[in-house]
């Protein structure tokens, strides 16, 4: 009897922590599309339905862009305000941060651009004075107190409401986009908690950034909005296309770089990136950037705090220090990955992992106590990067721009190289201390149980190193103009070296060394600068840092975290270079019991239920009979369970001794046997097979290109064994001399 033509709810869905079947999802989408196209010729309503179905993708992208842009604006404005809350409060409206409080003030002077009477620091509010040692201690104390409060709130909110909101999010999103299911990771609560606690974490002065978590926030928006459209809600493969586009929108609002965002999604995050997704990702990224621009979080129509505005040319001999910066970036990247992974492994395996709240508080306390005395660590990291990228002119009065102005005229606004004043030397010392602090503390901060990103701290490390080198080169050029190098390229009184450019190149080098991004990094950096002038230095530094870092360690930080967590992620970029065959990898191995199969029409419900309860396999091959072992198809465990449960409840007469059959027609049976159960509609009639002598490199290629979960192995036409994705991953790990038992999920 088969009257159940419509699918039972639940058949075709996946368990948590399982991989999806890409082939099945894609073919289901093609079936749905074909049905809609065929029906559209029947009536006007069906035609409208088909047009709206085609449009739904674009509408979804528009909504994702709007929501991501608004959330990014909320995060930017709130983080900007809360960071300054540690130092004081604005009496002319508590919602203004320091810069906006003094915006309209008449009392701002050229030397002291920060001071205005409307902005009161905590010592001014508590003991009504700002001078003296006691005021300093009060400010110090309040700073540390606020930092601890913010960090405590962040970690408790994460722990109580959404434990999945911690960390950066990019390794898990990479895994999800490759076909893995983590239920709740992109849900509503995770979105809300991640947004709120990201602001708290950034404001507490910890050495972390908000770019990685913004990608997670954007993907959550994408996932939540998918539920409004049937086409994307029911199909896991289509949903992952939307998530790729959402990730592009996330990076676009983080850096104000739509093209860089699309390339980042293509290079780093996505697994399959069809051409249709490229155009739609670009659309989503543009809408998000446009929304953020209209909210105008930084008050000058810029999307990022550290936009670069100078256009001074660079010289060919400067390629040498740029390559040096690239080497530094590569070295730092390899060092950071190694130490961070070691620390995270310690957190995972020892007692340290049992006290997440205390760990966050201790790290925050150490960071705040060490950061307050040095003005460059006290300011937020984005502001630090912005100041380092800035090219000094006559109008700047910060310590870093304290040059001695010994010249008569300034032609056309261009300043020649000048000797450094006292301020610059003391700034150099402070920056060197900042560099050491940031290098050390970021290792312990990334991976804690609060939302933490990595882009801004790496850029800060690179920018500091670059600026130090730049100022050094500038002074070298000034004091040794007779050297041939400087003589041939720099004329007397010309603006030869731009330290701001060195800071930018250093930032790109360090970011590239840690994440191993190539194209997306260069495009993001050149969108930040607004021009093609600096593409050659950026590319030189990015390539050098990637090569140096690759020589020291194989993977970027996100791949290393994927490996640490044991996610079943099949790396798409590496070649499999060993000469093993399919029969070396397939299960069952020589001494194991035979493969668990189901026959096509001779098993009872009770037999199947016994097999299901005794084994933990996620699917079973179906053969014609145990003697012939000729393959019919493949059936998934979850579908079997749901169908049998449903049949026991709804179909009358189905008992434990009923025969289950997968063929088109019921097998001939003697009379007075209980009614049979047809399960042909859950059987996959086209499973992928390889022969046992197929080289493993072809098998790995098939798994990668088609997104398979399992592949059956035949010998002379008879079913011999099965290779699952987990087996492939374990085999790759074994070949690379890593621990094959670290692959955890099925």
């Amino acid at each position: 009897m088969d009257f159940l033509e419509e699918p039972i709810p639940g058949v075709g869905t996946y368990d948590d922590f399982n991989t999806i079947d890409w082939v099945r999802e894609k073919s289901r989408d093609r079936d749905r599309h074909r049905e809609i196209t065929n029906k559209s010729k029947e009536s006007t309503w069906a035609l409208i339905h088909s047009v709206s179905d085609a449009f739904s993708g674009w509408l979804l992208m528009l909504l994702i862009g709007l929501l991501s842009g608004s959330l990014a604006g909320l995060i930017d404005i709130s983080a900007h305000w809360m960071t300054d809350l540690k130092e004081g409060i604005c009496t002319g409206g508590f919602w203004f941060n320091h810069e906006h409080c003094c915006w309209n003030s008449e009392h701002v002077t050229f030397e002291e651009r920060d001071k205005c009477p409307e902005w009161n620091s905590w010592s001014q509010l508590i003991i009504s004075t700002d001078e003296g040692a006691f005021a300093y201690i009060v400010n110090y104390f309040m700073y540390v107190l606020w930092a601890l409060l913010f960090a405590f709130l962040a970690v408790s909110l994460v722990k109580v409401f959404a434990p999945y909101a911690c960390g950066s999010g990019i390794p898990e999103i990479k895994t999800i986009l490759s076909g893995f299911i983590i239920r709740g990771y992109l849900g509503k609560w995770t979105l809300v908690i991640k947004t709120i606690t990201l602001v708290l974490a950034v404001s507490s002065g910890l050495s972390l950034g908000k770019e990685g978590p913004l990608v997670h926030v954007a993907c959550c928006c994408g996932n939540i909005l998918c539920h409004c459209f049937n086409k994307y809600r029911k199909n896991e493969a289509k949903r992952r296309e939307v998530l790729s586009a959402a990730a592009a929108a996330g990076v676009s609002v983080a850096f104000g770089a739509p093209i860089g965002g699309v390339l980042f999604s293509l290079e780093e995050v996505s697994y399959y990136f069809p051409l249709k997704t490229l155009w739609r990702s670009f659309f989503a990224a543009l809408v998000a950037a446009f929304t953020l621009r209209s909210i105008n979080p930084f008050g000058n129509s810029r999307l990022v705090l550290f936009y670069v505005e100078f256009h001074t040319p660079w010289h060919l001999f400067e390629l040498v220090p740029f390559i040096l910066l690239g080497i530094f970036g590569g070295l730092w990247g390899a060092l950071f990955i190694r130490t961070n992974i070691a620390w995270c492994r310690k957190r995972k395996t020892t007692q340290l992992g049992k006290y997440p709240v205390i760990e966050v508080l201790v790290v925050t306390a150490i960071t705040a106590i060490l950061a307050f005395p040095n003005e460059y660590t006290r300011m937020s990291t984005s502001e630090l990067i912005s100041e380092l990228f800035n090219d000094c002119g006559l109008l700047d009065s910060s310590k870093l721009c304290d040059y001695e102005n010994r010249f008569n005229t300034s032609k056309g606004g261009e300043l020649p190289d000048r000797p450094a004043g006292v301020g610059v030397y003391s700034a150099m010392w402070q920056l060197a201390l900042t560099l050491i602090l940031k290098i050390v503390i970021t290792i312990f901060t990334f991976g804690m149980k609060i939302p933490s990103g990595l882009f801004i701290p790496s850029m800060a490390v690179g920018a500091i190193a670059g600026r130090l080198l730049g100022v050094g080169m500038e002074q070298l050029a000034y004091y040794h103009q007779e050297w041939t190098v400087f003589n041939s390229w720099c004329s007397q009184g010309a603006d030869c070296i731009t330290p701001g450019l060195y800071a930018m190149v250093g930032a790109a080098a360090c970011l590239g060394g840690v994440t191993r991004m190539t194209v997306s990094l260069v495009v993001i950096m050149f969108e930040l600068t607004g021009g093609l002038e600096y593409i050659v230095p950026l590319m030189a530094a990015a390539m050098t840092s990637k090569w140096v870092a690759d020589a020291l360690g194989r993977e970027g930080i996100y791949d290393a975290h994927i490996r640490l967590n044991g996610y079943p992620f099949l790396e798409a970029k590496e070649e499999f270079a060993h000469k093993t065959l399919a029969m070396d990898v397939m299960k069952p191995r020589r001494n194991d019991p035979l493969l668990t199969v189901l026959t096509q029409d001779s098993m009872t419900v009770e037999d199947v239920e016994t097999i299901i309860s005794e084994t933990t396999y996620s699917g079973f091959p179906v053969v014609v009979s145990r003697e012939s072992q000729r393959l019919v198809g493949f059936v998934l465990r979850r579908d079997l369970i749901i169908s049998i449960e449903n049949a026991r409840k709804k179909q009358d007469g189905v008992v434990s001794t009923s025969i289950i059959y997968f063929t088109e027609h019921s097998p001939p049976l003697p009379p007075y046997t209980p009614p049979t159960l047809k399960l042909r509609n859950i059987l996959d009639l086209s499973p992928f097979t390889v022969t046992d002598l197929t080289p493993m490199e072809i098998v790995v290629d098939i798994f990668r290109k088609l997104g398979l979960r399992q592949c059956l192995v035949t010998h002379n036409g008879r079913l011999l064994g099965i290779i699952t994705k987990k087996d492939v991953l374990k085999h790759i790990a074994q070949m690379a001399n890593q621990d094959p038992d670290s692959i955890l999920f099925n």
Binding site: I77, W95, L157, V160, A162, P163, W189, I196, N565
Partner: protein, 198 residues
């Protein structure tokens, strides 16, 4: 019945999201239109020149008048020096929206406050209330391992969702219970077993 509910819910959420999107756009437009008089300024920075020290001048002025001659008052130098002085000054027109900032911060603080209140309620108040209402017996609930190794547990879950419940309050209670179980599972994966996100 359940599918109709689900369909209506989805339509409702789509409509509300479109409304939210429109309101965001309107807010952006409003912030353009309702330009507070104080939210517009022309900022001129003039470096030190001869005996005059550096100075910053602010004025609420329109964009076409944003230059040295209109903004710098009183002019510290006179006669032919004015041009040389003004050449060194840099004037920039800047705009901000204090309404957007105020609204955003207030929205953020209210959401944060609500979450903190709910957190206090969940961790402190609810156990006390439950103990008073139901006695000690009820506290030994299904707090143990729901592990995903039970073969038929997920199937029950999936089929149960398709059953419709008449009582709205029951539905809310049921949804909250399910959410709590989910969070507990997540907490176990992340904090105890260190399986995800280490």
């Amino acid at each position: 019945m359940a599918t109709l509910w689900g369909g209506l819910l989805r339509l409702g959420s789509l409509l509300s999201l479109s409304c939210l999107a429109l309101s965001v756009l309107l807010l952006a437009q409003l912030s353009d239109a309702a330009k507070n008089f104080e939210d517009v300024r022309c900022k001129c920075i003039c470096p030190p020149y001869k005996e005059n020290s550096g100075h910053i001048y602010n004025k609420n002025i329109s964009q076409k008048d944003c230059d040295c001659l209109h903004v710098v008052e009183p002019m510290p130098v006179r006669g032919p020096d004015v041009e040389a002085y003004c050449l060194r000054c840099e004037c920039k027109y800047e705009e901000r929206s204090s309404v957007t900032i105020k609204v955003t911060i207030i929205i953020y603080l209210s959401i944060l406050g609500l979450l903190l209140l709910y957190m206090v309620y969940l961790t402190l108040v609810e156990p006390i209330l439950k103990r008073r209402l139901f006695g000690h017996a009820q506290l030994i609930q299904s707090d143990d391992d729901i592990g995903d190794h039970q073969p038929f547990a997920n199937a029950h879950d999936v089929l149960a969702r398709s059953r419709s419940r008449a009582n709205v309050l029951n539905k809310v209670e049921y949804a909250q219970q399910r959410w709590k179980l989910q969070v507990q599972e997540q907490r176990k994966s992340v904090f105890d077993r260190h399986v995800v996100l280490s």
